[in-house]
Symmetry: none
Subunit: 191 residues, 4 copies
DNA sequence: GATGAATGAGTTTTCATTCAT
DNA sequence: TATGAATGAAAACTCATTCAT
């Protein structure tokens, strides 16, 4: 399979970034981890920057795929909202390296050019759904960035806490508790 | 003043990390920016790692200071909650370099050893208050990490969005909207 | 034809050396330019050095051939001298890549071993003729190296100037002017 | 002396280019030869290219200096012509590394950018003098490039032959023979 | 014969740290 | 204290050559 080595290299980066961070990532250890020669990396990528960007493109696509699959046409908004949040959470529980990589990629300004517009596009399908909810007066008429902060921000943090073993998202009750709280944050309430 | 150069060096790091990111931070440019010789840095810090860690300690302390000052004994919970969130937001609007630095410090695992327990301690005063609220049945009996995610996570993200000019937290209405949404997320509601 | 690929490879080197110089010449670009695989070069040549040396042998032979063809037995010395100089000039105008390659090959000491004795053999037929001229007291009894310098050196330079578009050797008058000056340099004169 | 290491590095390049050619020149051996660490080179030069260009600037200036010093106002044209040619020859006999370096620098197209307009500027003082000679009808009304070829080209070649031990320019008679022949090439003659 | 992916030694360059002044 | 030239180990990247197909 022609993509074998290319993939092995990408997986290596994912593993190493998670293990040691961007700062200590170097081409030699990537090659070693992937079981190829250092020069081989340059057959598949122009350089370190290109490699990192390609990896980001890959992880982002896989993640979006996972979320989109959770959406079901014709289901109530809340059901889809919960399902997609859950898909996001479960994806990262299954692929913790992805999460760690995306976080670092996003928070390292100017390290790699394309990095500028952040990775908020990652939850795009969810935001589109929220727009519909606003029209139905189900979702608060919040500034879009506030919505983003509430969903994206809290989601990221809870996953980080799980990976740091400060909580356990494998328990359904914890996940539910979290989803409900986010739901309360964004929906119209009567006190 | 004996601390003059030490402080100039710390400020340089803050500025440079914000401008170019951790990855491109190097001792020579720190020295240049601070107006000192490269060797001088080593009179005040053991090395790069020590410098970064010292800076983190400094920024964390300044930030906590700012938040604590917003707390007023005997004021209703919600008033204090809003005041402290607002203090956090305003601190970072005034010191955007701090925010960028803390973010990168937090998201670069193993870059600098002490980094392990994340920077959730930053909002500690707020969490203590939340514990009281739980006892009063005002705040939901949420898992502590869920609380953390809702407050810390969304706060971080909204600030990042502000710094990226995707929203404007200088408008009081936007801030209020955000605080209210977080409040809805964490308080007991009746629909 | 079995020599097809071998020739394509040699032509590639000629083109690339002229375009980018020896320093940037590499096996991959040679292969690309020749439309063969990198490994194929090694079926026809032992390695880079062998390839370069083989190419020099080829260019030198073609050049000498061209000059010799200009010589006509029984014609006056000056006529043959002019004819052969003209053959040399015209050969390089027709094959500018050859010139550039030979120059670089000659001026890169120790790059490739055999390179030591320079490329003065290139005008050998002319020097032989000069020896006859000396015997006839038509040509000055110059040191052979002085003769070489006057003919070979000035010839090379005028061609280089033509290729750099600083003069135009396509104009017959310019060529004549040059040949006459060289002739004046080497022949016995009465002032 | 602050220029000590910078000069040691430049001298190293000169020596090494002469000994092994451009092709085998590498930063490590330059450093070794100069008795400095590899990194030190980068304190004085931006990189290899900058180093080479700086060296060319230095050698060119030294050479021109030497030639200009040979010129004496008010002396007959021929005397100045011979003196300057002689200065050029003697300079290179004393500094053979300079010659080898300049040759290679000139004949390696596109290796280093500034290289484009060749090194004919090297004999500029001589060409200016020739222009005067033309006005006096002493020098033939030759195309400038033909003049260049006759002087510069033959000069270069005779020096190369000397360095290759094919002739001996230390003998004054050989030099004279050569200068006279060049003089005959460029001056108006009556046969 | 022909390929071109793979290699790994070698190259240029960077940069945290040291140390003579 | 303060300097900044110097270091050299380590980094990113190149490329002639090999070899399984």
């Amino acid at each position: 399979m022609i993509r074998n080595k290319r993939n092995a290299i990408l997986k290596s980066v994912l593993k190493l970034v998670n293990r040691q961070g961007f700062y200590h990532l170097n081409m030699k250890s990537i090659a070693q981890e992937a079981g190829v020669a250092a020069g081989t990396i340059y057959l598949y990528f122009k350089g370190k920057e290109d490699l990192i960007n390609a990896l980001y493109a890959m992880t982002a696509e896989e993640f979006n795929q996972a979320i989109l699959e959770a959406y079901e046409e014709g289901r109530p908004l809340q059901a889809n909202f919960f399902a997609m949040l859950d898909a996001a959470v479960m994806f990262y529980l299954k692929n913790p390296d992805h999460f760690s990589f995306v976080e670092q990629y996003t928070y390292a300004p100017f390290l790699f050019k394309e990095n500028q517009d952040m990775n908020f596009s990652l939850l795009l399908p969810i935001y589109k759904m929220m727009a519909q909810g606003k029209a139905l007066r189900l979702i608060k008429p919040l500034d879009e960035s506030v919505l983003l902060a509430l969903i994206h921000g809290s989601l990221n943090t809870i996953i980080k806490l799980h990976l740091a073993r400060k909580t356990n998202l494998r328990k359904e009750s914890t996940r539910k508790e979290f989803y409900n709280a986010v739901w309360d944050a964004v929906t119209v309430t009567k006190k």
